[in-house]
């Protein structure tokens, strides 16, 4: 292709100018950070705490309280957006630039492994260790990578089985028991059970729960996929079968949290798997038909409570922080009982300290707490892997195909296994 002579120098200049700026920006990903992790361990001073949108206004009062007590080590609150992807990208951008601006960051449980593997998070051990006594075990697991704690659990979340008290006097303990009760739904001409089965993150949650509840697991202790097991197959098959025989209504294949909540609230479902937020809406919304008949129970499992997927956030210290001693103190402050209680009462955030779930005052306000505790105690963190985007895609795509009857659960799981293997094999 001929280039007009007069354009060339101009175009080249433009390109050069930008390439230079790209180079100056420093390059790409790199691991390590060994030396960064050793630095500034005893240093104190003002720090910044980064977190997504503080919708229920719980973080600000806590920071004010901290600042009043620590005038020389004040915390500045940097509020991110409401969107998880944007929060993630903002953290990546700042860590990549080795920015000391972010001292303590709130990380979603599914990012912890990625950030830890990039060498961006300060291992919370030795000098930087925190006291994890009293914390629910699964929340600690969710904050750990390769056996080391990288992020202190601050809030948690788990699935709850909502049911119709008027139709089901005692909630089912196991999946089979629940399926047995589906005849009640049929008699009343409503759907039996639903979770979230649209092809999105919620399906990863639901499929993992099915697999974990049946005794299988997505990843083993070493982070390797372990899906070619009879347990995993039985778990996924539970959902496949329920779709096939109509115990899960066909339209559930398009459900996210909201669609499933609406179906339940409109009285179209006997059982619903969803998050704690449903409680408030289902008991207060004017159009709710289940206001007075709402029951809550732990998710059903194989022979006892099932294994919920775990949500929530943890607090991590950046390896680039200039004041790690202060940062650590602030993290410890966030997980103290008093603050945890405040999170629960003000923000309806599930605490990570087991004792609080029996606190009379809290339970009066949030009646789902005892059920939620069972749920979280039995919870399995979503796969802890630095390749979470690839792993969740592998689970979603294949589980979705199985639920739609496009391939047997066994094949879906073996494809899941293979996909996850390729994700981690890039090195």
């Amino acid at each position: 292709m001929k280039t007009p002579g007069f354009l060339l120098p101009v175009a080249t200049a433009g390109v050069l100018a930008l390439s230079l700026s790209a180079c100056a920006g420093g390059g790409g990903t790199s691991g390590g950070g060994g030396s960064d992790a050793e630095a500034n361990l005893d240093s104190r001073g003002p720090i910044t705490y980064v977190q997504g949108k503080d919708n229920s206004n719980v973080v600000r009062p806590l920071i004010e309280k901290w600042n009043a007590a620590h005038p020389d080590e004040k915390v500045t609150f940097k509020e991110q957006t409401d969107n998880a992807d944007q929060q993630h990208d903002d953290l990546v951008q700042n860590f990549q630039a080795k920015n000391a601006d972010y001292d303590v960051a709130s990380v979603d449980v599914v990012w912890t492994a990625e950030f830890a593997a990039k060498g961006w998070l300060q291992p919370l051990k030795d000098k930087m260790a925190i006291d994890t006594n009293g914390m629910l075990e699964p929340t600690i697991e969710a904050g750990s990578y390769k056996g080391t704690l990288y992020a202190a659990p601050v809030s948690s979340d788990g699935g709850i089985l909502y049911y119709r008290k008027d139709l089901v006097p005692t909630p089912p303990k196991t999946w089979d028991e629940m399926m047995g009760m589906c005849s009640i739904a049929k008699q009343n001409n409503i759907g039996c059970y639903s979770g979230q089965f649209k092809q999105y993150e919620g399906l990863t949650v639901n499929a993992s729960e099915a697999i974990n509840s049946a005794g299988g697991s997505v990843l083993d202790k070493d982070g390797k996929p372990s899906l070619n097991t009879p347990e995993a197959e039985a778990g996924l098959n539970n959902l496949v079968e329920a779709f096939k025989n109509g115990n899960i209504p066909a339209e559930a294949i398009t459900y996210q949290e909201e669609e499933s909540r609406r179906a339940f609230q409109d009285g179209k479902l006997l059982f619903l798997r969803n998050w704690p937020y449903v409680y408030n809406l289902a008991t207060t919304e004017g159009s709710s038909k289940v206001k007075d008949v709402l029951g809550m129970a732990a998710l059903p499992g194989k022979d006892g409570p099932g294994a919920s997927s775990l949500g929530g956030h943890s607090a991590a210290v950046s390896v680039y922080s200039d004041h790690k001693a202060t940062s650590l103190d602030f993290v410890k402050f966030l997980v103290e009982e008093e603050q945890q209680k405040f999170f629960a009462t003000q923000g309806s955030l599930a605490p990570v300290l087991g004792d609080l779930y029996e606190d009379q005052e809290l339970v009066a306000k949030l009646p789902y707490l005892p059920v939620l505790k069972t749920s979280i105690e039995n919870a399995v963190p979503r796969p802890v892997t630095p390749f979470y985007p690839a792993v969740t895609k592998a689970i979603q795509d294949n589980a979705y195909a199985a639920l739609k009857g496009e391939k047997p659960a066994k094949d879906a799981l073996s494809d899941m296994q293979k996909s996850i293997e390729t994700a981690g094999a890039g090195s």
């Binding site: 433009g14 390109v15 691991g31 593997a117 092809q199 398009t254 985007p389 690839a390 293979k418």
Partner: protein, 345 residues
Amino acid sequence: MATELGPTPVKQPASGAAPVHHGPKGVGEDNKILSQGKWATWLLAPTIIALAIVIVYPIISAIVMSFQKDAGLDPVTGLFTDGGPAGIQNYVNWLGQQCAAQGGGTVACPPGTLGGQFWTATATTFFFTVVTVALETVLGFWMAMIMARSFKGRGLVRAAVLVPWAIPTAVTAQLWLFMFDFNGIINKLFNVSILWTGSEWPAKWAVIIADTWKTTPFMALLILAGLQMIPAEVYEASKVDGASAWQRFRLITLPLVKPALMVAILFRTLDALRMFDLPYILTGGANNTTTLSILVINQIRQGFNSAAALSTITFIIIFLVAFIFVRFLGANVVEQSGATGKGKK
């Protein structure tokens, strides 16, 4: 709307915004063109520089990135390490749907990986393109022929067709998502219970319907503009000659509108090949509605360099389609738009 070709531009010396000083009268055309060329260089420079920065630089940068490996995990420390040069491996992986295997080498990408979706995404993209452009052309032609007639309220119709075009695609997608809801108006109106976003064909048709709604007006307006350039006498003459309506359409309307039509189809085709907003919001790419653009976006957070290779492939595909159009199907956009020089005929 003026129907004649653009006026010939260089009859007299221009001045004003950018005074052009031609050589003294009587100097040969060559010289004149030379001096205009100099001016043109200065006038075009800002645009060319700007486009070099916002387009040429990213392309080059993407190509450079596409020859790099994505960061991998060190199996001992569990930490990420830089990937290093990859040669053409990223391209080979996409085109051959190969994924990294444990212990080195590659294996065929299993279902549930982005790599395994390349050819289905390509097929989906072309399927959407062919179906939507075909539908839009036929519907657009029909709408244009109606709007070309004179009837009361024609202005209203012409204004109304601009409404779908003016609504941002992101809003369009939310609107159709809402209407395609299981409990939504569409199922109610047609008394069906279709899970529009729940299985492959309904999901595909949902995207096609929404896209057709949104972009047919653009097509219709382009065709209408072409129709209006056909002199009414041509029709009358053919009527006197006893041509049937179908003959008139086939022998007069179609050939005369063809240049405008080809350009309209080219524009729409290239636009459809990069479709993103609608399926991304409407279906999230589920049920085989992942287009190449969606695949690139999904890949970005799984690895920049591999995504760069994929975006380069996408770019090449679109470039090839444009090339074929211009070269073999006679959609000569440049001549259509740059008719100045040749418009003197």
